[in-house]
Symmetry: C2
Subunit: 165 residues, 2 copies
């Protein structure tokens, strides 16, 4: 990771994300908090509710993205910044890409998370070291002819009122 | 990706996932469908609702994971298999890791998705080519002292009734 420049307001928002994370532990959530600030200054918080909501995807960052999208009425958060109490895991990074966030600022790092008992560091290895992937989560293609394999895309292509993203 | 062995029942479930994807296009959803089959044979479908629900994380695989977790009453899907109409994007792969899925079987690949206009292939580059990351989504740490940076983990450590995952 390259060192990026951060600002005083970045530090202010990040302190808020850390406070949100600490408060969430007191409310039976995981020790993670996030804050999305849109280009026009709207703020949307998210907390980790994996165990509380029985949802392994309910990381603070994903929760903040979903809240912000609902709040602004769009699946596209271009121009927004994500502040998160801890370095985002690959799921949260990829969710941020799909949400078209402008940038991410974080506090604790993946090693801090590992010391607290979370698997972020292990899951980074899945993406960084292709040779470990099969032992962690085998992913297999079933060979199918073009027509069968791409049937949903063919239907998509002939759908006049499709909403692209 | 190594070639994995798949079975006749894999092919049956995968055909279902493809049908679910095609049907979803007819219901104003994206051309993606998924099916999770638990170790004891329960089935949970998921479809892409990104534009319909204004949720960039509502990929078919994530939707299926959420539905399966709600259905079985756990944030842990160990023993379950994910069948998906298209090769999962990095968000869906990492979500599957967090959900502790046993394995994934898919039909269409990332190039098929790219030809249909979806950014999965571009987002794989974010993980596969570190040199492109900053231009796609800058991720920056604010340097903070240990106590400030890890405050949520400190609170977590002193919380007696914490639920680990």
């Amino acid at each position: 990771m390259t060192v990026q420049t951060t600002t005083r307001s970045d530090e202010k928002y990040l302190a808020r994300a850390i406070d949100i994370a600490t408060q969430n532990v007191k409310e039976q959530g995981g020790p993670f908090g996030a804050l999305i600030v849109t280009a026009d200054g709207q703020e949307f918080a998210g907390v980790n509710r994996v165990t509380a909501n029985l949802d392994p995807t309910a990381h603070a960052e994903v929760s903040a993205i979903r809240a912000a999208c609902t709040g602004v009425g769009s699946f596209d958060l271009s121009g927004a910044v994500l502040y998160t109490s801890c370095e985002p895991c690959p799921m949260c990074l990829a969710s941020s890409l799909w949400a078209r966030l402008d940038r991410i600022v974080f506090a604790a790092n993946r090693d801090d998370a590992a010391r607290a008992g979370f698997d972020d560091a292990a899951f980074y290895r899945f993406f960084d070291e292709p040779q470990v992937r099969d032992s962690m989560l085998p992913v297999a293609a079933v060979p199918l002819d073009d027509q069968t394999r791409t049937a949903p895309f063919i239907e998509w292509g002939i759908t006049a009122n499709r909403i692209e993203y």
